[in-house]
């Protein structure tokens, strides 16, 4: 199992700070596509992903037990 943490407005859309999902063997892009479909999340392509607090690209493969954080870049200032 994998814990997925949501930051900023992603958390509002999902309604939870984190979810437990089975993502082992999937790529980051696959996980994003799955979440986007399930929760009507907007534009996940440009959302940054950390696996175990380290930046991960969209083609990185998730291992069992990895903690994934989805951090949307914001533009306010």
């Amino acid at each position: 199992m994998n814990k997925v943490l949501f930051f900023a407005h992603l958390r509002d859309v999902v309604g939870e700070e984190s979810l437990m999902v089975e993502a082992s063997g999937k790529t980051v892009a696959e996980l994003k596509a799955e979440l986007a479909g399930k929760y009507d999340l907007p534009r996940l392509e440009t959302v940054m992903t950390a696996i175990n607090e380290e930046f991960a690209s969209n083609d990185e493969v998730i291992q069992d037990g990895d903690e994934i954080a989805l951090i949307p870049p914001v533009s306010g200032g």
Binding site: F7, A8, H9, R11, E17, P42, R43, E45, T46, M48, A50, E53, E54, F55, A56, S57, A69, I71, P72, P73, V74, S75, G76, G77
Partner: protein, 339 residues
Amino acid sequence: MNERYSRQVLFPGIGKEGQEKISRKHVLIIGAGALGSGNAEILARAGVGKITIVDRDYVEASNLQRQQLYTEEDVAEKLPKAAAAEKRLKAINSDVEVRAIIGDATPEMLEELVPDVNVMIDATDNFETRMGMNDAAQKYNVPWIYGACVGSFGMSFSIIPGNTPCLNCLLRTIPLQGMTCDTGGIISPTVQMVISHQTAEALKMLVEDWEAVRTSFVSFDLWRNQYSSMKMSKAKFAGCLSCGEERTYPYLDRDNMTKTTVLCGRDTVQIRPAKAGEISLEQLSAQLCSLGYKVKGNPYLLSVEMGGERMVIFQDGRALIHGTKDLTHAKTIYQRIMG
């Protein structure tokens, strides 16, 4: 050394030598909104030799809740932010040379300004300008500090050409719609925490303590008591067009920028985003409604009343701003909503 900086000189990370370096350096701040005014005040108080600050906007009542250099008088006089900032910065520290530029940070302007500065600070409110800053920083080898915030959520990342990944490595493309303070709201403590990170990084760069510069990407949420520090060593992208081996600096190219045109005799400006793409009008409509804007629409377009102007947004991101002929003003309105 001036008594004025004594507490800063006492701090071992700065010292006398560091203070002398600070006093000879030049910092460029793009934006004089919340992040810009806060960064400028801290760096002016710290005794930076020269500060150049660029902004295209003027002071409005809704800025006062978080933009720390400005007063009710500046709103009454409708002063341009760069001019109001300059006035206050000089009252704070007359040793600092302040150059205020009222205008849009276009690729041309960045190419002119960036080669002369030691550090650049991101205080803009849209990704298009940031990508231009990122390219100019890489081209002229100037470190810069990304910062952004919305609601209680903020982030910062230090970008050193030739060393760290760049903003284009992280995003690969300009997000079609980022969350802005005009769509998600903002509280002042969030702004201040981004500023804390940006100015701490700027001071490290100004005293040339490169070892101390933060290598992780910081993001935090003050209302939800979250803080995250993401390691970035794997984020550098070899094929990056901004910092990779075959770089082209795409965001210094006018062809890749948002285009603004006055529509003849119509008191209307057309805005065409650099990258065509489908936006969700339904989501945008729901979001704008919940923010209290008057929105009408059909499957092909949305029409939004915004003060004196009306913005019509099409599915490909193109928009018409009715009620103005001012290109910069129209672009400001557009990027406030679209990020």
